[in-house]
Assembly symmetry: C2
Homo-oligomer: 365 residues x 2
Amino acid sequence: MEVPSVLHMIGGDGETSYSNNSIVQKTAISKARPFLEATLTDLYCTTFPECLRVADLGCSSGPNTLLVISEIIEVIEAICHEKNRISPELQVFLNDLPGNDFNSIFKSLPNFYGKLKKQKGEESGRCFISGVPGSFYGRLFPSTSLHFVHSSYSVHWLSQVPRGLESNKGNIYIGKASPPGVLKAYLEQFQRDFSKFLTLRSQEIVHGGRIFLTFLGRRSADPSSKECCYIWELLAKSLMNMVSEGLVEDAKLDSFNLPCYLPTAGEVRAIVAVEGSFIVDQLEFFDVNWDANDDDNNKDFVFDKCTSGKNVAKGIRAVAESMLTTHFGEAIIDDLFSRYTEHVAEHLSKEKTKHVNLVISMTKK
Amino acid sequence: MEVPSVLHMIGGDGETSYSNNSIVQKTAISKARPFLEATLTDLYCTTFPECLRVADLGCSSGPNTLLVISEIIEVIEAICHEKNRISPELQVFLNDLPGNDFNSIFKSLPNFYGKLKKQKGEESGRCFISGVPGSFYGRLFPSTSLHFVHSSYSVHWLSQVPRGLESNKGNIYIGKASPPGVLKAYLEQFQRDFSKFLTLRSQEIVHGGRIFLTFLGRRSADPSSKECCYIWELLAKSLMNMVSEGLVEDAKLDSFNLPCYLPTAGEVRAIVAVEGSFIVDQLEFFDVNWDANDDDNNKDFVFDKCTSGKNVAKGIRAVAESMLTTHFGEAIIDDLFSRYTEHVAEHLSKEKTKHVNLVISMTKK
């Protein structure tokens, strides 16, 4: 699988689009906000550029794309107001892979700018938004051109499916039954990728600039622990069902593995230390329920296994469909996710399960 | 008509797409190249940034979009080679209205970068391409952030249809029968728009930076002269035909006017002088045949009125369809362009006709 050409969220605004099924990612953005505020305040105490250049890597296409930018603008306006400074101009680079639906984002910009002007008035700092297509495992920006790099729910995606997963039969990610070689292959791929990511960003970020990442991780040392793997094990189970009914070939399932890895804080810290370009300022965890509608802020939430099953399955479908379709063909997708919906519902009726989120803020040395 | 939301070239790569019907624009880019070379050489004699920041305004979506960028890269590489300098990094901002098909451009970038690496090697300056959606009659970039602004076949488009065209009956642009008020309304709209364009760019371009524009104009003082108007008069004629057959309402035609203006060199110079931010370094004319396949470089060309009629009509359709559809509805478009094809063919069989192109290079004071 050529990850850069295959991995993209489902575009447009249809029922199965990422745009309509990204509440987990939205909740994560909202939970990361206090850390974002701390980072930007800290950055703004040392740097006061006339134009603050910001990149969001893996911006996707949907309400979350501009939500992140709104938050960054709000935080900066608040800091400037408090410090009695003139707001800087803001140049925002939205990055994602070339298959991302940038047209949808761009069409929503006139409305976004209109609202911004209404809220902040003509006097506030201008915001200039652009799109930058490309993999963040390659260079994306000129040397020392960025002050702040943000990325949410993207860095757990690898540049490629690790090599050496032939023995990972019946799984599509690390599972309980995966042999040690599989765990090693995944970890090593993440080490290479995340290290490369840091080196590339260190070339693009100015001295003293910040990088702020939220991504899926795990607390447990065990890379096959439920908190990071079970959501994919259930998808593997749905695929196995279809294998047993002759709807999917055995070999086809065995040769499919996801290009992602959910690291521990220790694994991340070790890579940052060895790579050497950044200092870790903060590294924290927070949780988001698989069904993110089930949130402390949503007081009206009443658990219903079928609804939650659907919500979770739609969210995973919006993310994984492009990869699954490329490997298995389009024909199986509806059936697969109908099975998956049931498996998730069944599981959630027994046990509420959470995504573990890692949020890390770093300064360029 | 809300020009920013209506005006866009036909996207995708279908038979009627701009991508497949933009040979006039391609020919203009190629004929403007010697002037582009002179401008960039001149710029590079005074400015040697480590990262050259370039914008192309009204980039559209098709082979011409990246052709312009290729030309700029080639010219800069040649200058650096000659002067024995290291090539700069190049940050390119492709701008067009938010309705432009940026997705198509972005999907073609991996291939573009791949070719570039092959041609120039890893050693040459890196190129970073981004998309910036928005009208160039508003701010698009942070203050003093650009070294070079390029625009081809865009600045003749106005920010809006001029007011006060009620008397322009039976025409869709300035025509032989247009009363003087119509000419005045068009000229004044162009004066306001082009002046604003210059002021906005002067805020975005560094001192000593350049702006290089190619757009449709006219040599004749008469704003209803054939060289600039007849291509649209024939489209008005096709619409009139449909009015006489009851296929288009009379009032509908009378209320449609194109948001474009084709100025003389004198009109352009006067606006630049009054606005005051730029010095004109060079202002030249060149011609491109309506059927741009009919070119001195194309020795195999044999004139056939039907083929040429089709070529011209397809080119105009790719540009004007979005506006015509918004005003007249989709249903009339095929019929309209079939009539137009015949009218153009008939005209070309009597008289070879050319687009007059104005190319202007200016330095920011």
